[in-house]
């Protein structure tokens, strides 16, 4: 006899929650690090290195999800850049995978064919884009039109 309800994922204690977002290039240089959990500086550095080690060894036939410590990394590679989002193990993988893509499309529009150098030279603007789309570890806004309109408006301010 199977007991009812034992295997259910009934405790969704965390909700949709992002622990951190990382953009790294293949050499492991960080192009963006956005933390939604308290880590001290050493710990951050360790996480950055570990994520790089975990993600870069995987090939295109692998899934876009990797278990990582007690969390999960959802990642996608664009040219030489890895966009990684760290979430809880029972979060919705595909929703985050597409959230990454949505974010990349916004960057692409905003920077007109975004490339790695745009992220380097405009690092302070990338943070603004992130805050428009993700806040407090949650997805804030998903409409590319709305985000770009807002960014354009901010761009026009002095």
């Amino acid at each position: 006899v199977r007991l009812k309800g034992q295997g259910k994922r009934c405790t969704r204690s965390e909700g949709l929650e992002i622990r951190f977002i990382l953009i790294q290039n293949r050499a492991g240089k960080t192009r963006l690090a956005k933390w939604y959990m308290q880590f001290d500086d050493d710990e951050k550095q360790k996480l950055i290195e570990e994520v790089h080690a975990v993600v870069t060894v995987r090939d295109a036939k692998h899934t876009n999800f990797v278990e990582f410590r007690n969390f999960k990394i959802i990642y996608r590679r664009y040219a030489g850049l890895y966009f990684c989002i760290c979430v809880d193990v029972n979060d919705n993988n595909l929703a985050y995978l597409e959230a990454i893509h949505n974010f990349v499309e916004v960057l692409n529009e905003y920077f007109h064919n975004v490339c790695e150098l745009d992220l380097v030279f405009n690092f302070y603007k990338v943070y603004t884009v992130v805050d428009e789309m993700f806040l407090a570890g949650e997805i804030r806004e998903t409409s590319q039109t709305k985000v770009l309109k807002q960014l354009l408006m901010l761009q026009s301010l002095e």
């Binding site: 006899v1 199977r2 007991l3 009812k4 034992q6 295997g7 259910k8 994922r9 969704r12 204690s13 909700g15 949709l16 960080t30 690090a33 959990m37 308290q38 880590f39 001290d40 550095q45 995987r58 036939k61 692998h62 899934t63 876009n64 999800f65 007690n70 029972n90 919705n92 595909l94 929703a95 995978l97 597409e98 959230a99 529009e109 905003y110 920077f111 007109h112 150098l117 745009d118 030279f121 690092f123 302070y124 603007k125 943070y127 806040l135 407090a136 949650e138 997805i139 804030r140 806004e141 998903t142 409409s143 590319q144 709305k146 770009l148 807002q150 354009l152 901010l154 301010l157 002095e158």
Partner: protein
């Protein structure tokens, strides 16, 4: 669309970044940075007031330098100044600098809060959002205190802009997560729930997250969100692919919002209102139907977005676990994905199906995919996919397919990735036990496991097979025959020798009738493996041999010969030597009747939850095994202490006896595996009831322990914490950290110092001991700027393995559950030594840091030498007493290499710190040290004499301890030897 030129607006910044990029070496980069830092510092210090633009530029450069990984110790004030600029770009850089660099307990926080307050009140939506984002990013308690009351107002105000509402919702969420007590509930609850109806989908997207978080703590207050969420979801799901315009992503209407709504619904049971429920079921069906429709785009984005909703829908269906029809449809849908060309989908389908397998409605449907899953196990390239396949096979296993699944897993094991072998071994072992119809299949399976992956077969697994064979007499003969055959292999795994040794020692008689496995054949087969085995295994085999003497008197002479051989009787390993000596004496002194009683077959083990299952749970976290642990618990399994008391004189073979004796402590990690062993065997057998019961070596102690750490409720555990509620369960205390022994060693000769330190926490110790009493002050320092929550240090004593009698009483006072950032709390321990002991108490510290649970187990620096009272005596007395303590077991000696420079003064200090008196003019050789003292315990006093002989040339020491008690001699000798 806007194009942004490189570093537009701030040329100086772009130049600087280019310079850094052009640096050829790390040194050049550092040089360039230092030059820039000097420049910025001089600008900030200069007489000329900087304009806003320059300030912004320099602050931005500092931020860039910080992000490169360099420390920044100035510029904060300038950044704060930027906050009050009325130019967006300056304000933005100011806020960014604060969010990235300022930690919560900065002195600047008041100034920052002031600026935030102004911006929140500015009615300028851009500035309000900047301020809200800053609060959400920093999320400190100070900010919570300052703004938690304002933000709900901004959130529900009629005139707030949509973007401000979005930010306010998530800002509130952040504050609530950080400090729930600061966020007042109540009047605005209903209005927050109504945000689900908001026109603006972005506001709804943010609000659902907030509500999902809040409703977990107050489900009843937010209950009205169910119907609102259902109707919102229904409108999205039934809309055409272009209806939602901005919120349509690759022809999928509002995928993220749908997912969030579906997750919100998973916080609640199915809707009670029939209409709402009907509408929801309709939604779920629509999602399942849409999955069957041809895709509207070939782009992966389209299918991903669509499937994100689909998987969340299936999660909700599984969560409700009440709609058989939907469950089966979900299962069929996942079945299609199992063969999809996208690896992601195959992975997710396997994962999701795992939870479906545990529902009674869909279990059978899941089982139909067994062949596909087995194939995945064999062919998937990504190890994480194979792992999911193994998980699913495990979850779908029942009596009908157990043989197939177990044999597939065994086959997979031969080529499995090292990373997951141990887990597969555990799973096979559990399934084999759980679904064994005939136990011969079970025995075969476990022996196969050992054959294929012996290194990965943990103690729990082979203990378990012994336990089961001992308890089931219908399989004993078969087990004996099978192990006997397995041992014929020229190379067999040591675990096989252990299992074989144990089983033949107990049940070898059942196959002795066959001349091919006659007693002498059995013995010589086992003994042929003996010399290649580790000490622990050889110890086990010696016990098997003594059991053979009882089972097969005809082997007595041979075995006595083996025991008598110099390699046994004078074995360098004390455990082996002792066993050989004692077994030899036992076999020659005891009558057949006594032997038969002492060496009787082991009594059955009490039924209990499989320790393997417990191990798997530990490995994978509580959720992992739950699907599998489905109710086949024996009704008596709550009897964890074990009911059966064996006759006191039963000598176990390596011995499933520990639990029966009521010993629930794991062996001290420091002790070599066999050290708790048969040391007192003869005493036990011949001295009658006064003697201490002997234990086999380690196996079953750990075995019966899910045990791992000491169980406070066991009779010999000391009273750890006066409040029973604080008593951690056995699972609660992890094993001591690997460095625990090293840390402990540092305190053998001193009483004060830092016991432990990492990035979060420092633990300091101050202690004093007098006679058999001690008082210890523990100081816990929070090294971070964040408050520790649920801070709870507990002390437990694993009990003394050899005596298992309460040997130390430790009384602790509880400490405050919160430790503020930078603060220190103190805990006082009163310690009474009741009798001599070997293992120190464990200190387990648990707390939450930034939401993450932290746990740490240390050994408390209380060792037996702390209760030394130094004794002065003249040379004559010393030698007289030394002679009095001349029995071999009263002396312990160690010869060892010096690990530290051999300095006589340091040595003296250490010996005094150890607790004994140092006696001058006693040893004829002035280089040597002699000491004397009495160990004070409540029950008895143990006189101790010691002598340390340094040999500077060889850089060696010889240390000799003589005490009236054997275990004390050995223990003191070990403790002290590690100090030089």
């Amino acid at each position: 669309m806007p194009a942004v030129s490189k570093g537009d607006g701030m040329r100086g910044l772009a130049v600087f970044i280019s310079d850094i990029r052009n640096c050829k070496s790390k040194e050049a980069e550092i040089k360039r940075i230092n030059k820039e830092l000097a420049n910025i510092r001089s600008k900030f210090k200069g007489d000329k007031a900087l304009d806003g633009y320059s300030k912004k530029k320099y602050v931005c450069k500092l931020l860039f330098i910080f992000l490169l990984g360099h420390d920044i110790d100035f510029g904060h004030m300038e950044a704060v100044n930027l906050l009050s600029s009325n130019k967006y770009t300056e304000k933005q850089i100011g806020y960014l600098f604060i969010s990235v660099l300022v930690n919560s307990n900065s002195e600047l926080i008041r100034l920052i809060n002031n600026a935030i307050k102004n911006d929140l009140a500015s009615r300028n939506p851009t500035f309000m959002c900047l301020a809200l984002h800053c609060i959400a990013n920093v999320g400190s308690r100070e900010m919570g205190e300052a703004f938690a009351a304002d933000i709900p107002r901004i959130l529900v105000a009629g005139d707030s802009m949509d973007s401000v509402k979005q930010s306010a919702a998530l800002c509130l969420l952040r504050l609530y997560k950080a400090s729930p007590d600061l966020v007042p509930m109540g009047e605005w609850t209903a209005r927050v729930v109504h945000l689900l109806n908001d026109q603006h989908m972005g506001v709804v997207t943010a609000a659902v997250s907030l509500i999902t978080c809040l409703c977990k703590k107050n489900p009843d207050d937010f209950k009205t969100c169910i119907s609102l969420a259902v109707s919102r979801l229904s409108r999205i799901v039934s809309s055409a692919s272009t209806d939602l315009q901005d919120y349509t992503y690759y022809f999928v209407p509002a995928p993220w919002l749908s997912v969030k709504l579906l997750r919100l619904l998973q916080c609640y049971p199915p809707p009670e209102d029939a209409a709402v429920k009907g509408r929801l079921v309709e939604c779920l069906e629509t999602v399942l139907n849409k999955a069957q429709e041809p895709p509207k785009s070939k782009k992966v984005q389209h299918s991903n977005a669509k499937n994100a909703i689909l998987f969340e829908t299936i999660s909700l269906i599984i969560h409700y676990d009440s709609e058989p029809n939907l469950l089966v449809r979900a299962c069929n849908q996942l079945g299609q994905f199992l063969q999809h060309r996208e690896t992601n989908l195959r992975y997710l389908a396997l994962e999701s199906m795992c939870t479906l397998a545990s529902s009674e409605f869909s279990h059978e449907a899941v089982k139909t995919h067994i062949d596909t899953v087995i194939n995945a196990l064999k062919t998937e390239r990504d190890v994480s996919v194979r792992q999911r396949a193994a998980d699913l096979l495990y979850a779908m296993c029942d009596r009908s397919n157990a043989k197939q699944i177990v044999s597939e897993m065994l086959r997979y094991l031969e080529t499995a990735d090292y990373a997951i072998r141990e887990e597969i071994v555990l799973k096979v072992a559990i399934l084999a036990e759980k679904y064994a119809v005939d136990y011969s299949w079970y025995v075969d399976t476990i022996l196969n496991l050992i054959r294929i992956a012996g290194d990965y077969v943990s103690e729990e697994v082979w203990y378990r097979v012994l336990q089961i064979v001992t308890n089931r007499d219908d399989v004993q003969g078969y087990a004996a025959k099978t192990v006997f055959e397995a041992l014929q292999a020229p190379a067999c795994h040591e675990n096989m020798v252990k299992v074989g040794g144990y089983i033949l020692g107990e049940f070898g008689n059942l196959i002795a009738g066959d001349p091919r496995s006659s007693p002498p054949v059995q013995f010589s087969l086992l003994h042929s493996k003996f010399h290649l085995c580790s000490v622990a295994t050889r110890a086990l085999l010696l016990s098997t041999y003594i059991k053979f003497i009882n089972l097969f008197p005809e082997t007595k002479a041979t075995i006595q010969g083996v025991l008598r051989a110099g390699s046994q009787l004078r074995n360098a390993d004390v455990e082996l030597q002792q066993r050989a000596v004692e077994y030899l004496t036992l076999s020659s002194v005891a009558s057949t009747d006594v032997l038969a009683t002492v060496l009787e077959e082991m009594p059955p083990f009490p039924e209990r939850e499989s320790s393997i299952l417990a191990k798997l749970k530990r490995k994978k976290g509580p959720g992992a095994a739950s699907a599998l642990d489905d109710g086949r618990r024996d009704p008596s399994s709550n009897d964890i202490n074990g009911g059966v008391e064996p006759t006191p004189s039963t000598v176990s073979t390596p011995s499933p006896s520990a639990d029966l004796l009521g010993l629930r402590a794991a062996p001290p990690p420091a002790a070599p595996p066999a050290s708790a062993g048969a040391g007192n065997l003869l005493v036990d057998v011949f001295d009658g009831p006064a003697a201490q019961p002997s234990l086999g070596p380690t196996p079953e102690e750990a075995f019966l322990s899910e045990l791992e750490p000491p169980a406070p409720e066991s009779p010999m555990a000391l009273l750890a914490d006066p409040a029973p509620a604080a008593d951690p369960g056995p699972e609660d205390i992890g094993p001591p950290i690997p460095e625990a022994d090293e840390l402990l060693n540092k305190f053998v000769c001193k009483n004060n110092g830092v016991l432990f330190e990492n990035q979060l926490l420092q633990i300091g110790v101050k202690s004093e001991f007098r006679q058999n009493l001690g008082r210890m002050y523990l100081f816990y320092g929070n090294k971070t700027s964040v408050q520790f929550q649920n801070f709870s240090p507990t002390v437990v004593h694993p009990g003394d393995l050899q005596t298992h009698i309460l040997s130390l009483a430790v009384q602790t006072k509880r400490v405050a559950a919160q430790v503020d950032g930078g603060a220190q709390v103190q805990q006082v321990l009163n310690i009474e030594c009741l009798r001599d002991f070997l293992t120190p108490p464990l200190l387990s510290v648990r707390f939450r840091y930034g939401g993450a649970p932290q746990a740490l187990t240390l050994k408390l620096p209380v060792t037996i030498n702390k209760f030394f009272q130094p004794t002065e005596m003249a040379a004559q007395d010393f030698f007289q007493r030394w002679k009095q303590l001349s029995l071999p077991q009263q002396e312990a000696q160690k010869i060892f290499k010096a690990n530290h420079p051999m300095d006589a003064e340091v040595t003296k200090a250490k010996l005094l710190g150890f607790g004994s008196a140092l006696l001058d003019n006693v040893d004829p050789n002035p280089e040597n040290f002699v000491g004397a003292g009495i160990i004070q315990t409540k029950a008895l006093q143990v006189g101790c004499l010691l002598r340390l002989e340094p040999n500077a040339q060889a850089q060696m020491y010889r240390l000799t301890l003589r005490t009236s008690k054997e275990s004390v001699s050995r223990h003191l000798c070990e403790l002290l030897a590690q100090q030089f």
